[in-house]
C-alpha cells in the first residue's frame, strides 16, 4: 500500500477570467491551437484591412468637382459630384422636391410604424396603405395639376425603392391567396397554386424580367401597351408572390390544428375563420420572414440593370463609363454596395429584433 505522506501542493488559483487580461486569456489564448488561430487571424486582418482603411479614408479625396481633385487613395469626389444623379436618376432637377416629399413620407412612416410602442399605429397603417401610395404615385409620375414625369426618367435610388416597395406591397396579397390556395382542400385549386408557385420559384429572375420586358407585349393584343417599368413590376410581383406564398404557408402550417378546429366549432365560415383567427396569428408569426423576403427583393431589384432600367446599380455603372471619370470602378461599386448593405443590414437587424419580440410561444 502506498501512502503519500506529503500533502499535495495546493493548486494555483484558477486564472482570472475577469478584466481585460482574463477575458483575453479565455476568449483568445485558451489553448496553444487557439493562440495560433488568433495570431494568424489577427495578422491576416492587419495586412488585409490596413491598405483598405488607408485607401478609403486616410488617403481618400472627398471634395472637388472633377478628377483633378484626386491623387492616390479613393476618389470619393466621383460619388459626391454625381450623388444627385445616383439618388434621382434623370428626374427633372426642378421637380425633385416631389421625390423628396415621397422620401420624407416614407421616412416618417417608418419612424411611426417600426418601434414597438407608438401612438395611433392603426392610423399609421391605414395611412400607409391608402393615402401614401396614392399621393406617392401622383407626386412621382405627375397628374392632378402636377407636371407629368415619364417613367424612363426615373432612376437611381429612387427607382430601386419604388421597385422594391411596390413589389413587396403588391406581392403580399397575392402571396397570401396563393398560400391559402396551396393549402386548399380542392385538388384543382391546390394543383394550380402549387404549379404557379413552383414554376416561378424554379426559374431565374433574370429570365422572368426578360420575359416581362420583351415578351409580355406579345401575349396581349396589340393595342394594350404597358410602360417598361410596369412590365418589370409585373415580372417582379409574379416572381415575388411565389416566394411570399411559401413564407405565408410556413405561418399557416405553424398554427396549431386546434385553432382551425375551434374556429370551425364556433361555426365560422372559411373566410371568417381565416380573417379573424388564422391569418392574424399566421401573418404576425411570419413578419420576420416577410422582412427577409423584402431584403431579398431589395437586392434583386438590381437585376433590372439587365433589361435597361436605371436603378441605383445601373446608374453607377453608367457613370463609370463617363470618359471624364474613367477608372473609378472600385469607388462606384463600393458606394453602391454600401448603400445596398446599409438598407439590407438595418432591415435584417430589424427583422431579428422582431423575431425576438414576436417569439411568444407558438413554436412548441
Amino acid at each position: 500500500m502506498i501512502v503519500n505522506e506529503n500533502p499535495v501542493a495546493a493548486r494555483p488559483a484558477p486564472a482570472s477570467n475577469r478584466g481585460i487580461w482574463g477575458w483575453m486569456r479565455q476568449k483568445l489564448f485558451s489553448s496553444p491551437a487557439n493562440t495560433v488561430l488568433t495570431v494568424v487571424t489577427g495578422w491576416l486582418l492587419y495586412i488585409g484591412l490596413t491598405p483598405v482603411i488607408s485607401w478609403s479614408f486616410i488617403e481618400a479625396d472627398w471634395f472637388g468637382s472633377d478628377r483633378s481633385a484626386c491623387d492616390g487613395g479613393a476618389c470619393w469626389v466621383f460619388i459626391t459630384a454625381r450623388i444627385e444623379q445616383f439618388i434621382y436618376g434623370f428626374y427633372p432637377e426642378d421637380l425633385r422636391w416631389r421625390v423628396d416629399l415621397v422620401f420624407l413620407q416614407t421616412g416618417l412612416l417608418l419612424l411611426w410604424l417600426m418601434p414597438q410602442s407608438m401612438p395611433g399605429k392603426k392610423w399609421g397603417v391605414i395611412y400607409a396603405l391608402s393615402i401614401f401610395p396614392i399621393s406617392s404615385f401622383f407626386l412621382l409620375s405627375g397628374g392632378l395639376g402636377l407636371e407629368m414625369v415619364d417613367t424612363h426618367k426615373w432612376g437611381g435610388l429612387m427607382l430601386t425603392l419604388v421597385l422594391a416597395l411596390v413589389g413587396i406591397v403588391a406581392a403580399l396579397p397575392f402571396g397570401v391567396l396563393l398560400a391559402l390556395g396551396r393549402r386548399s382542400e380542392m385538388p384543382v385549386i391546390r394543383f394550380f397554386c402549387t404549379t404557379f408557385i413552383e414554376v416561378w420559384r424554379g426559374v431565374p429572375l433574370i429570365t422572368v424580367l426578360f420575359m416581362a420586358s420583351v415578351m409580355l407585349p406579345l401575349f396581349v393584343p396589340e393595342e394594350v401597351v404597358f410602360d417598361k417599368l410596369v412590365r418589370a413590376l409585373i415580372g417582379i410581383v409574379m416572381f415575388q408572390s411565389a416566394y411570399m406564398a411559401e413564407v405565408v404557408r410556413g405561418g399557416l402550417q405553424a398554427i396549431p390544428r386546434g385553432q382551425y378546429e375551434a374556429a370551425a366549432a364556433m361555426g365560422l365560415g372559411y373566410w371568417k375563420m381565416m380573417r379573424l383567427v388564422i391569418l392574424p396569428q399566421a401573418l404576425k408569426m411570419v413578419i420576420p420572414g416577410i422582412v427577409n423576403t423584402f431584403i431579398a427583393l431589395f437586392k434583386d431589384t438590381s437585376l433590372v440593370l439587365i433589361i435597361g432600367l436605371f436603378d441605383l446599380l445601373a446608374i453607377v455603372q453608367a457613370g463609370l463609363a463617363d470618359p471624364k471619370w474613367l477608372g473609378f470602378a472600385i469607388e462606384g461599386y463600393v458606394f453602391a454596395g454600401f448603400v445596398f448593405w446599409f438598407f439590407c443590414f438595418s432591415m435584417s437587424r430589424y427583422s431579428q429584433s422582431l423575431e425576438k419580440r414576436l417569439n411568444t410561444g407558438h413554436k412548441a
Partner: protein
C-alpha cells in the same frame, strides 16, 4: 370554405394577365398621333449616334432620325420618347410593339429583313466593320491577329462577320462577348482583349472613351458592309413609307441646299422643287397621311442630312468622321434619295 380559397387563387392567377381587350387594331401612325409622342428604340449609349448628355437629353444621328419622324408625324421633333435598348433586346422590342421605330445603328441584312418580321426603311449611315487595336501591339493589319482575343458586343452582325473573317483566313481567335459597347471598350482598355471589333463609326466613337484615345488605332481593313438604318415592323406600309421618306427628305434637303437656317427664307422661292418640298404644291403630305409641311418641319426642326451628320459625327463633333461614302451621290458618296414629286 373551399369556394373562397379557390376564388382567391383564381384571382391571383388571372389578375396579372387580366388586361386583355380586343379593340380594333390601329395603324402605327394613328396610335402615334393619338398617343402624342413617338416611341423610338435607341442605343444605350454610343456617342455620335445616340447617347444621353449630362442632363439626360438624347443626342446623335440615330436620335435625329427619330426626331425627324416625330417632326413629320406630330409637327414637333421633341415629342419622342427614347427607349434605350441593348443589342439583344432591340428586335424583340420592335416586334412586340414596345417601340414604333428602331433607330439603333442596326445593320440591314437579308435575315433581319425577311425572317424577323421587320422592314428596313433606308440607310442613314453606311458603315463597315473594322478593328481597333492598341498601338503598342505594333500590328499594321488585321491579318497579323492570329490567336488574338477580341472584345465584341453580343447579338450583333459583327459577331458573325468576325467569325467569318477569321475562318476565311484560317486564323484563331477568342471572343469575349459583352452586353453593351461600354463594357467592350472598358474590357479593351483594361487589356482583357487585344482588339475590339465593331462598325468603324462605333470604333471612333468608342475610342474617345479611352483615357488616352491616341494609344489605340483603327486598322485599315473593313471586313463587311454595314448599312445602318431605321427599322419598322412589317405589315404597315404607310408607316414604313413615312419613316423611309423622313430619311429621303433630309437627303433631298441637303441636295437642294435647304438648311434649318435658310428654309424659312426659301418659302417664297419660285423653284417648283422647293415648293413641292415645303408643301406648297404637288402631292404634299396626302400620300403619307401627314400634314402638308411634313418635310419643312423636318428640316426646320432637325436639319438636313449634312447638318445632322456634321453636328453629330462630323467636324462639329468630337468624333470628326469624314463624310466618305456618306456624302451625297453628286459629291462622291452614295447617299441618294428619290425625288419628292
Amino acid at each position: 370554405m373551399r369556394k373562397a380559397t379557390g376564388l382567391a387563387a383564381a384571382l391571383a392567377l388571372t389578375t396579372s394577365f387580366s388586361v386583355i381587350s380586343s379593340a380594333q387594331a390601329a395603324s402605327t401612325l394613328e396610335s402615334v398621333q393619338e398617343r402624342g409622342y413617338l416611341q423610338c428604340g435607341v442605343n444605350t449609349g454610343l456617342p455620335g449616334f445616340s447617347s444621353p448628355d449630362d442632363k439626360g437629353n438624347w443626342k446623335g444621328m440615330d436620335v435625329d432620325t427619330c426626331r425627324a419622324v416625330a417632326a413629320a408625324t406630330l409637327g414637333d421633333a421633341d415629342k419622342v420618347k427614347f427607349i434605350p435598348l441593348t443589342a439583344k433586346e432591340r428586335f424583340t422590342a420592335l416586334q412586340s410593339g414596345e417601340i414604333d421605330v428602331l433607330s439603333r445603328n442596326t445593320t440591314w441584312t437579308l435575315t433581319r429583313d425577311s425572317s424577323l418580321g421587320l422592314n428596313f426603311a433606308g440607310v442613314n449611315y453606311y458603315d463597315g466593320q473594322g478593328f481597333l487595336v492598341s498601338k503598342n501591339l505594333g500590328v499594321k493589319s488585321a491579318l497579323e491577329l492570329d490567336g488574338a482575343t477580341v472584345c465584341i458586343q453580343a447579338g450583333t452582325t459583327s459577331e458573325l462577320n468576325l467569325a467569318d473573317y477569321f475562318r476565311q483566313h484560317k486564323m484563331e481567335y477568342q471572343p469575349v462577348v459583352f452586353d453593351t459597347s461600354d463594357q467592350t471598350i472598358s474590357g479593351f482598355e483594361a487589356g482583357r482583349c487585344d482588339m475590339l471589333t465593331s462598325d468603324q463609326s462605333q470604333l471612333y466613337a468608342l475610342r474617345i472613351k479611352l483615357k488616352k484615345p491616341d494609344s489605340a488605332m483603327v486598322l485599315p481593313e473593313v471586313i463587311s458592309k454595314e448599312p445602318l438604318g431605321p427599322v419598322v415592323r412589317q405589315g404597315d406600309d404607310q408607316w414604313f413609307n413615312i419613316v423611309k421618306w423622313s430619311l429621303f427628305a433630309q437627303l433631298n434637303a441637303e441636295e437642294m441646299g435647304l438648311t434649318s437656317a435658310n428654309i424659312d427664307s426659301q418659302k417664297k422661292s419660285d423653284n417648283p422643287a422647293v415648293g413641292r418640298f415645303i408643301g406648297k404644291e404637288g402631292i404634299k403630305g396626302k400620300g403619307l397621311g401627314l400634314a402638308d409641311d411634313w418635310a419643312y418641319q423636318i428640316v426646320k426642326q432637325v436639319g438636313n442630312y449634312g447638318e445632322i451628320f456634321e453636328r453629330n459625327v462630323g467636324e462639329g463633333s468630337p468624333l470628326k468622321i469624314a463624310r466618305g461614302i456618306n456624302a451625297l451621290w453628286n459629291q462622291g458618296g452614295i447617299q441618294y434619295a428619290p425625288p419628292i414629286r
